[in-house]
Symmetry: D3
């Protein structure tokens, strides 16, 4: 076991099953998060750079240094069709690590989106390209290429652990990470939840109360809820 995982690029990573990824892409982040048992969510400061951005794919991870986007170029070579780049920095830093040139490169190599705890720029161009990005900041500030980070090591992004090859799904509600080995199981569970919700939505729309639909009245009374006039 090495003491230091800086300066490393892992080339062969196992990726989640494509069919499972495709199935997961049909569900919202909130549904997937519930299907996961309410774990795996990034913190709410990870936001889309344009309304309606959505992504779902297998993670290629990048550890950056503050003010330095060198490893983004290294990561580009490791992309395969459908991959999502998940980038974190060794310190909080809002610099613009990513812009339309890198997006062009990522897309050409198969990349389908970016999740970054850090800043991005050229957001108007990225929106025009419909290249989905979820970030903790937007900043025009450029970066240098001077210090090594790593590609495809496990890392913490937005407060969530991401292993290379995990499925990353993001929409207006946030970003969730599904371990590769659980992708199919979570997709199936999400589907079941969604089917189940259709019926509930219909009943609620008809005016039925959650109090009755979920049989809450007795538990509430036991817990001591009192109605007063």
């Amino acid at each position: 076991m090495s003491m230091n995982n800086l300066g490393i690029v892992k080339r062969n990573i196992p990726r989640a099953d494509r069919a499972a990824i495709d199935k997961l892409s049909r569900f919202g982040v909130a549904t997937i998060h519930e299907a996961m048992g309410r774990v795996g969510l990034m913190k709410p400061y990870m936001r889309p750079i344009y309304a309606g951005a959505h992504l779902c794919g297998s993670a290629v991870t990048v550890l950056l240094q503050p003010g330095d986007n060198w490893m983004m170029h290294v990561a580009a070579e490791q992309l395969q069709e459908g991959d999502i780049v998940v980038a974190a920095c060794s310190a909080d830093n809002s610099d613009g690590f990513f812009g339309d040139l890198l997006a062009t490169s990522f897309r050409a190599r198969g990349g389908r989106g970016l999740v970054i705890e850090g800043g991005v720029r050229d957001v108007k161009d990225l929106a025009a390209m419909q290249f989905p990005v979820f970030s903790s900041a937007i900043s025009a500030k450029g970066t240098v290429k001077a210090t090594l980070g790593s590609v495809n090591i496990p890392l913490v992004c937005g407060g969530a652990l991401v292993n290379p090859g995990d499925v990353v799904v993001a929409d207006d509600d946030g970003v969730v990470v599904v371990p590769a080995a659980l992708a199919q199981q979570v997709a199936d569970s999400a589907e079941a939840r969604e089917i189940n919700e259709v019926g509930k939505r219909k009943r609620l729309a008809a005016g039925e109360l959650g109090l009755d639909m979920y049989n809450m009245r007795e538990t509430l009374a036991k817990a001591g809820l009192k109605y007063v006039d």
Copy 2:
């Protein structure tokens, strides 16, 4: 006087006059806030979850516990046509207390919007439904149903005191609370302000200076303002 107002649902609350609410709904939050004498505004971190969201109605208040949205279901039963749910949590918490199912239920029961110091999810669906929500956070994270809060007690939301039945108005500029007893008076005053502004806008558009229109030059000179070249 009880020491504890947790676990209480107040059923019969006085609501602001419907005609006054309707009149208030014609004015912006900035205008109403001025008409109130510059009080009653929530803090600026209360933001619409989609651009253009607007709401105006009588408040049904909900006190939540962190990570727990049980009381939202209790509140649904207390809604009447035109009500706005105003929810606060006993601690800062960005969890997604509210999503499209609850919105469906609220709407079916007469609810016309939500103001919440806390998080919400399913924002894409809520925008599609055009169900207006003003919140302090967006998060996919779900909640449990385990601990009692209260419904229709006075509470502090976004730094403002809200009593059940107060009128709550929200737009892109923020959220303002109008005590029920003042609704008509504030609506009238807002109308007067708006009429007054039409004339001012015309004069300013024609190039007249505020310095002259508001007669500021003398006061500025007295205060010591110096012009230099």
Copy 3:
């Protein structure tokens, strides 16, 4: 040298060359920031109040006091065609110092936008007017007119030094300040960068890697980057 630059309005300020401003207006903030040598950028909390807002012009600076927008009216008189008002406050304050009436006045006097470390209101109206505003906050809260600040003194806004007459450019990526004396030089440099990027974008879109295009492989190896399987 006076100890105190409060209560001062400087009338005759040198403005950046109009042709240089016009040329700068064709480039994005990220490009201009790079062309400046990566300096002059405001902090990322300075954000557009509506998506797509863009401004470029010569700065008229305003120092405000918390909760007080008196100096905004004084500034209106100093505007010339194409000017941008850059406002800062002597303390962090999110009050709505600016709304649609002032925007109407500024526009009538030649003002073409506002950059403010502070709050603004009437954002729906401002968006409808397409009057570009970049601010650190949005708030319906109004202000008084009681305490002197200054107009056209050097000030710090969003963490950047702004001298009256500097060129201020802002878009979705942020706000950058170009000293008047450098405007032409920066515009030329930005143009050169943009031409250069066209070629790069084409190569990256064709699948060429930044690693090869920028000759990074050797430097990365020297820095110790290791590829593992």
Copy 4:
């Protein structure tokens, strides 16, 4: 009912019972908050300006305007022996509204501390005077005396509703507000809790587990907790 409670000084306010205040002063904020039923706590950003600060007394409330401490002087006249000034501002503002001169004045008039959502200065002197202050900010920035606020109106401070005459207690754990009418009841309840805790502390110190002392094992098992090796 007036639409506007700015510019008002209420002179005769009911104060909580002195004996109840004295009894409350013996307990920590965490204990009192529990005794209250877990309500009445200010947000955690309200912090002591020096370690070990502690206060307990009857509230005289002050509503300030941003950058303006005029009402602090008006409040000084309303103080009686043992009073605590509780100040809030109509907008978030970190200016130094209070320093050693006002502390000297407050103390001379009977004031025993300050709780302020806003800034204070002269903290070294205040610590030397052992004048307890809990604030949301520290700032050397001075204020003007130009705009009216109010004294002894109900207000929201640190997210909690404070009525004049309520008991305010603050220590290293935060600030809690006890409605005047509940002061004795809460003090008694706090005392009971503290006595109860003595026994618990002894048992825990002897190595007994909370799992056993609180009989949690069965409930945990029912909730589904699983032990694995």
Copy 5:
């Protein structure tokens, strides 16, 4: 592989070598972080609740739910001599999950400190007990015992991955996590660094410049540094 790691208590965890832990305890967090290769550090918002707090031990991890400290009691039973509890919550929450009673219990069972992304209370008592705590918040607000989390699962705390049995070291500079398998190696490396620093400190104290001691002048000149008068 289970989809859900909520509701699990792992009893037998491997712990880092005691001698390695003891050696690590002699070094500061900054030194250990450097010895690790600049990884493993928690975010800077993790702060000691009293000046001078220091801890070093083997981690017992606890995943909490917002507003709920049930799992803290479950964790107490899993403690062995010298352990440090590392707690995170499924959502940002500043509630006081921990106070002097739990500290008494932890200490009685061998616990030697707490690192928590969340709030704590009774800080005066904890300081008096000299029970070291590093947290993201201080709050008097109590919690309930209603929802399951887990004990001794891998978790993310303060932005760092923590596995049960890892060594956690914390002082005024922050908190660092050393994987159990690397503890001895990092301790040795930290010792070497510290010995090396003694010599450097002496030379710097004598007025020698880092520019000369680290031979920076040539590299700086090559990078283009220019001295002007």
Copy 6:
């Protein structure tokens, strides 16, 4: 005029008069800020790393890059007896740019303190050395030496403009910057203020009200203040 002031070290800078600096060192930041006419203050997030830290001296400025403290070593050579290093970074970054080794070096070269918008580490050692530091963050995270910044250029630190040679004064209340040319004048004015305050403090301590001492009653009445019972 150069477009780029990165990579520059200015060697000969004018320093404020030593006698004026010595006189300024006798006054608190709040007093100096008032004497300046309420300008020149850094933002309140600039805080001392240990209670009671105080510094006053002539500024040597350093512009850093994120994650990189190379320029600190360059700055050390430019120090003269009594200088204060004022450092800012081209982006918000909490890394530990400074620790006890650099403090040792700075002190040996005449440095008497540090003001930095950025992070520092070894705070326990720095406190033991009584080397005063005011920073925006504390972090154990180390930095690299790879990218040029500048020394002794004008820069913005904590929201205030600092020119090399300006006097910087910092204490528990914050940090204030006095332009070199104004140092003597501000010191004299601060002295006058302090003498004046002695008398006021005595009168307030005797129970006289600010309302009377400052003749506020009439102005308050004119502004519309109403006393009610």
